[in-house]
Amino acid sequence: MRVWVNGEIKEFKRDSLTLKELLEELGYRDGFAVALNNTFVIKGKYSTTPIKESDRVDIVAPIQGG
């Protein structure tokens, strides 16, 4: 399955994947927040949020801002 992660295509071997599994496979541990197809997903729902082909996942963290 192919998924857009932070604007880049990532290939996953599995056909079904939860958001939690996707984040684990990419190595994310903590200190971030996630939007799926431009909609915020709260931390508590990662394990019950299914990922589909061509979904867009954004993973953000704190940076400098004005």
């Binding site: 932070n6 604007g7 990419l26 190595g27 994310y28 541990r29 200190g31 971030f32 927040a33 996630v34 939007a35 431009n38 909609t39 915020f40 709260i42 931390k43 954004d58 993973i59 953000v60 963290a61 704190p62 940076i63 400098q64 801002g65 004005g66």
Partner: protein, 264 residues
């Protein structure tokens, strides 16, 4: 001490400061400390797992400051993007405060008033304390106030331009029309005298970033702004004298030696 209440918190400093564009992380931290500011703005951007797992040193430096964090939605161009960013910020920064920015024009980074109002409507319903970055438009101010904003942040001039207060008349009008809201001039401040002017207009605070971060000596400039904001506030509170068309001597004239009547 001139303490004030912004949203649900008390502060002593009326200077809000950004965390971007400093020559180094250490100068950022030192400059923010030197400014005496108790509120710092931060943002969110995409991060790879590799970067994140090696430690977010920026975020560690901000936490060490132990001051209030005000996340922004910089870079958002629609209400939807801003709402999603605000929700991600609330989770990461554990605050319901949001500096709501929705950009409408890429040339001058002017806020989009229509998207801003829509995002404000949704976020206030979601329990956020929305501090909107807005143009200096009186009607827009009214719409945002009607939605429940307790703080408005009109621009002085475009972000990062350092052009100061382009339209003091508009800023003054918003101040007069909304005596009970917290008003903060956000963006465009270039030099300490711009901050003084904003405070003399009766604004409750000033938010700036580039003016300090891009100064030749950011730490020194941070101190300059600390005192500028204090001076402007004190000046406003003290009440400025009336302007006069004619000169009026400040030294008493009675008893002046060599005095004589001018013929004209």
């Amino acid at each position: 001490m001139d303490s004030w209440k912004l949203e649900d918190r008390e502060f002593n400093s009326r200077l809000l400061i950004g965390s971007a564009l400093y020559p180094s992380p250490q100068i950022m931290q030192d400059a923010i400390r030197a400014s005496g500011s108790q509120i710092v703005t931060v943002a969110l951007r995409r991060q790879s797992a590799t970067n994140l797992n090696s430690g977010n040193s920026f975020w560690e430096l901000i936490k060490e400051l132990n001051i209030t964090v005000l996340p922004n939605t910089a870079g958002c161009h629609t209400a939807k993007e801003a709402i999603t960013t605000a929700m991600m910020a609330r989770e990461i920064f554990e605050t319901n405060w949001i500096k709501l920015e929705v950009i409408g024009n890429q040339y001058n980074l002017q806020p989009d008033p229509f998207e801003l109002v829509e995002a404000t409507r949704v976020l206030i319903k979601e329990g956020f304390r929305v501090l909107p970055y807005m143009s200096d438009d009186l009607v827009l101010a009214q719409k945002l106030a009607d939605l429940g904003c307790k703080t408005l942040m009109p621009w002085g001039s475009p972000i990062g331009s350092g052009r100061g207060l382009m339209n003091p008349y508009n800023l003054k009008t918003i101040r007069k029309q909304f005596p009970n809201l917290n008003l903060i001039v956000d963006a465009g401040i270039g030099k300490p005298s711009d901050a003084i002017l904003a405070m003399e207009l009766g604004y409750d605070g000033v938010l700036l970033n580039s003016a300090v971060a891009l100064a030749q000596e950011p730490i020194k400039m941070a101190k300059a702004f600390k005192y500028a904001v204090l001076a402007g506030r004190l000046g406003f509170k003290a009440g400025v004298m009336q302007k006069r068309d004619m000169a009026s001597p400040s030294t008493p004239t009675v008893g002046t030696p060599f005095w004589h009547q001018f013929s004209k």
